[in-house]
């Protein structure tokens, strides 16, 4: 399906256009922006995980010189509607306001806002707000919450946000015929957050003259945010303008800043002046968004004699924190990768989601799929070890085969392309597999704990939003779209705008590469608008930057707009140059880029074309009046609405894949797991800009290694978050990160115009890989790696529990042959 233009720029390592400003310290991040008369907002947050709010006294705060006003939950209730709930009843009944109204449901929940002339004064005033709480018992665990012994949201009458059974094939039959059944009692995927280095920032101005709300912020999915905000604030959606500029990372986390955006707008309305809120790191850690925590219960795996998995059943409990917000979308998003990279056809997953007294979750690099992919990798890996099949061989026996693509999964997803066995070989070659195997054998003889692990994972990109109807049949969303605009400006400059809001992915560069190829010009001649702006009129309902899709949805939109522009330029040029359109060529002339007639040798440059449409219009015949050289194009993904009852349909357009291999050694004395070698192989189809792709792989790998070994959102028994600073949470640093050996293969996607697949999330490959390597190192010691987070302390405790005979037996194998 690839289209015809030659690729002079796409596929090449073009330097990034973004660098010039970012390297000079001239990037424009949200906190760099000041508006006249701007005020500063500080939240006062609940110190309790679960508490009734008995009284609030803001008088002392309002008396602090420099304080303009305060805002409480009770004040905003009559001014607003509760936020839209994505899920169905009974959770649709809950009342989610951006400030706690009568009760606080997690430590760090905003309760009061103070607004002052400086941030320091706002902090001073925040200290003297008096709030009386009555502490309630907190629910810290999803399984415990599902017992409904106490409730977070009384309106719902339950803590269960969502429940659905995903069943395909003939599960009972597969278990009846199984040679082996492996039972795994409990696996647990921990809470962590990708913690972008730039915190959330909101500048809001509610203009009393025209009742318009202006936002300058770093939200990473503005078209989603405005849909929530317009309904919440009772304003027309066109009255809300959102602008983003440079964004210091999001990884999905900044999708969920709309509650703070709401408070800032309301505070601006009350104060009559613009408001700025700059989140502190502690606020970010306690109350921005965490990744979903998930527990996998009572897993049963049916296998044939040769280790081929024939069926899996399991019960999954997802903990979404105190408010669903973006959830329960995560209850279906994981099913984009229902069988992972494996061929089994029969499965039954009973999926539940619960609220707990913890920070709400939100999309976080690898959102909802990584939990499931980790689960599947654990299942495959544990089965391999239990049955004595080499983990690489086990995978080869179960992988979807290269000749089976496009491959339809049991739940109707279509894997576009891939070659997992080849990736495995490339990864083995990268690290020198055979050599490591020898070293491992030697190390084991010395009693050393050395393991080699494989993680194979998927990075599904470009969602079919129709999957939201699987969680709530009443939702009006399906398909996917992205908008772009490509124009010749009055003086003939090529200008592109697209509805994404990049955070380091190089969209300005790759968009310019695509347009440059369409028009046969140098990418330096293409101006790509930075950031997002609703008033550019290019966004659609799904515009933003999330879910590994820009290379597909964003660049397809850009490509479509550029082609539309090219077609208009041809029409105009054919008229001016008195020739036929197929006689025209796009080239560089003495006066810049031009369109030239091959036959008569005449040419017109871009300025000449733009001038005809914009300034020299009397020369234009009426039949060309519809030519604007200002071309908006909406790209739509070719999706159908999934079958809601059967939970069946194609949920994602492209499936990039990652295969990592890691060699790890657990020190026998310190129990510190040390990575000795690390290889990462990536397949994202046709690559647009190789170093950008490589950079995404390294970044996702660092996030995964950090999550696997260092980064864990920990709560104590009463719901205090113990990792509320970077110094406690310890995001991975240069001394922790191993050198990564990078390799890639290309299996072009038949589903995108360029053959590219969306990428960037990486499917949390390192978490799967490190778990597998630790499993390999410790299986002989009787340890089952049942948690996605493993550090020296947890490995020590597992080893001790084993030694003193207190380890729970998590895995049981039924052998029928």
């Amino acid at each position: 399906m690839t289209l015809g233009e030659p690729r002079r720029w796409v596929g090449h390592a073009l330097p990034r256009k973004e660098e010039n400003r970012l390297l000079r310290g001239r990037g424009k991040f949200a906190d760099d922006i000041k508006l006249r008369d701007m005020l500063y907002l500080r939240f006062i947050r609940s110190p309790y995980a679960h508490a009734n709010i008995l009284s609030i006294d803001v008088s002392a705060a309002e008396a602090v010189p420099g304080v303009i006003c305060t805002l409480t939950g009770a004040e905003i209730v009559p001014l607003t509607q509760p936020f839209i709930e994505i899920g169905p009843d009974p959770f649709a009944k809950i009342k989610d306001y951006p400030l706690a109204v009568s009760k606080a449901r997690y430590q760090g929940e905003p309760v009061v806002a103070v607004v002052a002339t400086s941030p320091a004064i706002a902090d001073d005033a925040a200290e003297v707000v008096q709030i009386e709480y009555e502490a309630l018992d907190p629910l810290g665990d999803g399984e415990q919450a599902l017992q409904d012994k106490s409730l977070l949201h009384e309106e719902a009458g339950t803590n269960r946000v969502w429940n659905g059974v995903f069943e395909y094939g003939d599960v009972d039959r597969a278990f009846k015929d199984a040679a082996y059944i492996v039972n795994i009692d409990r696996l647990h995927f921990h809470r962590f957050s990708s913690t972008p280095l730039e915190n959330n920032v909101v500048i809001a101005e509610w203009n009393p003259k025209d009742e318009r709300i202006y936002y300058s912020c770093n939200n990473s999915f503005p078209s989603f945010a405005i849909q929530f905000l317009a309904a919440h604030l009772n304003v027309h959606i066109d009255r809300i303008r959102v602008e983003t500029s440079d964004i210091g990372g999001s990884f999905g986390i900044k999708i969920t800043s709309y509650p703070q955006m709401a408070v800032c707008a309301l505070a601006s309305k009350k104060a009559g002046r613009p408001i700025k809120w700059v989140e502190t790191r502690s606020e970010h850690m306690t109350s921005s968004a965490h990744g979903n925590e998930r527990t996998f219960r009572d897993t049963r795996v049916a296998l044939a004699k040769d280790g081929v998995i024939t069926a899996i059943t399991s019960r999954h409990i997802d903990d979404c924190g105190a408010y669903p917000r973006y959830e329960p979308l995560g209850c279906v998003i994981w099913s984009q990768v229902f069988p992972g990279v494996y061929r089994f056809k029969n499965a039954r997953i009973d999926f539940m989601q619960a609220v707990t007294n913890k920070c709400p979750v939100g999309p976080n690099r690898g959102y909802s799929r990584m939990q499931h992919l980790w689960f599947l990798e654990r299942v495959v890996d544990i089965c391999a070890h239990e049955l004595g099949i080499a983990p690489d061989e086990m995978r080869l026996r179960n992988y979807v085969r290269p000749e089976e693509f496009p491959y339809t999964t049991p739940n109707g997803c279509v894997y576009d392309s891939g070659n997992y066995p080849k990736m495995l070989q490339v990864a083995k070659d990268l690290i020198g597999w055979d050599e490591w195997k020898k070293k491992q054998a030697a190390a084991r003889k010395e009693g050393r704990l050395l393991g080699i692990g494989i993680g194979t994972t998927l990075d599904s990109g470009t969602n079919n939003f129709g999957q939201s109807q699987i969680v709530n049949p009443g939702l009006p969303y399906s398909g996917n779209s992205q908008g772009a605009n490509c124009k010749l400006d009055i003086y003939g400059e090529v200008v592109v705008a697209v509805g994404s809001c990049p955070q380091g992915q190089g969209h300005e560069t790759t968009a310019a590469q695509v347009v440059a190829d369409v028009l046969n010009i140098h990418p330096d001649l293409v101006t790509v608008r930075t950031g997002f702006d609703t008033e550019r009129n290019v966004h659609t309902g799904f515009s933003g930057t999330y879910a590994s899709q820009f290379a597909v949805s964003g660049l397809s939109a850009v490509h479509g707009a550029a082609q539309k522009l090219k077609a208009e330029m041809k029409r105009l040029a054919a008229f001016t140059l008195q020739t036929k359109e197929d006689d025209l060529e796009f080239s560089m002339g003495a006066q810049g880029p031009e369109v030239r007639a091959r036959g008569n040798g005449k040419s017109i440059n871009y300025w000449g074309l733009a001038n005809l449409v914009n300034a020299n219009t009397a020369a234009l015949p009426p039949e060309l009046y519809e030519v604007t050289l200002n071309c908006r194009y909406i790209w739509r993904a070719p999706f159908k609405v999934p079958d809601k009852q059967k939970k069946y349909g194609n949920l994602t357009l492209t499936y990039a894949s990652q295969l990592h291999i890691c060699v790890v050694e657990v020190d026998r004395e310190t129990f510190i797991p040390r990575i000795l070698d690390y290889g990462a192989v990536d397949d994202c189809g046709t690559v647009i800009n190789p170093p950008i792709v490589e950079g995404q792989v390294y970044g996702a790998t660092a996030h995964g290694i950090g999550a696997a070994l260092m980064e864990n959102c920990v709560y104590d028994a009463v719901g205090n978050m113990l990792t509320s600073t970077f110094s406690d949470y310890t995001p991975i640093t240069a001394v922790n990160m191993p050198a990564v050996k990078y390799g890639h293969i290309e299996t072009p996607s038949p589903h995108s115009y360029s053959g590219a697949k969306g990428m960037g999330e990486g499917g949390a490959a390192p978490i799967h890989t490190i778990s597998a390597a630790l499993q390999d190192a410790l299986f002989a010691s009787g340890i089952v790696i049942a948690d996605s987070f493993n550090n020296a302390d947890s490995l020590f405790r597992a080893m001790v529990a084993k030694e003193i005979g207190q380890a729970q037996k998590l895995v049981r194998v039924e052998r029928r042959v």
């Binding site: 004395e669 990792t723 406690d728 640093t733 001394v735 550090n791 302390d793 020590f796």
Partner: protein, 297 residues
């Protein structure tokens, strides 16, 4: 993150700083490197009404070799010690200075400030307790000399009176057949160690004549593991004596569970660190040049 407002006083001399301390009373605090104090003030966990800035006093940052001793001005930055050829002659000092936090913090943080803060996780007190170290403290009543063992009283508590400050730290140079090592396990550079071990051994051939073993981050103060020292003193440093020392060190530790690790784990970890530090200290005592850096997660 904005600290509460405070009054700022720039001391022109240490004497003036002492006078300011007595005059301003309990609400006053000294500002040395500020690398612990300022973050605490930003989080509003520390809220001094007055800060007395020591950074503009000349002659408070120095490293001098004199009479078999090293003298450190209290305002000497960790980085200056890390880079000092004089300090490198006592390898355990270099291990310590080079392993504190990160480059930026080492450029600001001071040895005197670190000791006076007496954070149970601080590095200097643990290391200096393996050496003959004295703190020269200046107060209203004049100067007094306090051995490091008497200086650290408890977590965040020192022998300093409110209107007293550390002027200088002196360390007696160990004999040429003595060697030391300081080793910590840290999750990453900017944070405090999970546990650490400082070992200084004096060797005669393969026999240990004198031993100092101090454990860091596993108690309210650095813990001198005297039983562990006895296990080595007068003995050949071999598997048997070392494992006795390690066992004794583990027994001596009294860690608290926190985000860095469980108490049980720290017990085990500190033993492993002692074992490795003994090995490096022994080799250094015997004249071998050994590079040592902390273990990171």
């Amino acid at each position: 993150m904005y600290p509460r407002a405070f009054h700022y006083h720039r001391a022109g001399s240490l004497k003036e700083a002492v006078a300011m301390l007595s005059q301003l009373g309990g609400e006053a605090k000294l500002l040395a490197g500020g690398q612990s104090l300022i973050p605490l003030m930003k989080l509003r966990f520390a809220n001094p009404g007055h800060l007395i800035d020591l950074n503009f006093i000349s002659g408070t940052s120095f490293i001098k070799e004199e009479d078999g001793r090293l003298r450190f001005g209290a305002m000497t930055r960790h980085a200056e010690i890390e880079d000092s050829s004089a300090a490198k002659k006592i390898p355990i000092l270099h291990d310590c200075a080079a392993g504190i936090a990160d480059v930026q913090v080492r450029n600001r943080g001071t040895i005197g400030g670190s000791l006076a803060e007496a954070d149970p996780s601080g590095d200097w007190a643990t290391v200096l307790m393996t050496l003959h170290t004295e703190l020269h403290c200046l107060g209203n009543q004049g100067e007094r000399t306090v051995p490091i063992e008497e200086f650290i009283k408890d977590a965040y508590t020192t022998a300093l009176a409110h209107d007293e400050l550390v002027r200088e730290i002196t360390v007696r140079k160990p004999s040429p057949n003595s060697g030391g090592a300081y080793l910590a396990f840290k999750r990453c550079a900017p944070v405090y160690p999970t546990a650490s071990a400082a070992v200084q051994l004096t060797m005669e051939g393969e026999t240990c004549r004198e031993a100092r073993i101090v454990l860091g981050c596993v108690g309210l103060t650095p813990i001198r593991a005297k039983q562990a020292e006895s296990a080595l003193r007068g003995a050949a440093v071999n598997e048997k004596s070392v494992s006795a020392a390690v066992e004794a060190a583990r027994t001596a530790s009294d860690p608290q569970p926190d985000m860095r690790g469980s108490a049980e784990y720290k017990h085990t970890l500190v033993g492993a660190l002692v074992k490795r530090a003994i090995d490096v200290a022994r080799r250094r005592a015997l004249g071998e040049k050994v590079e040592l850096s902390h273990i990171y997660a």
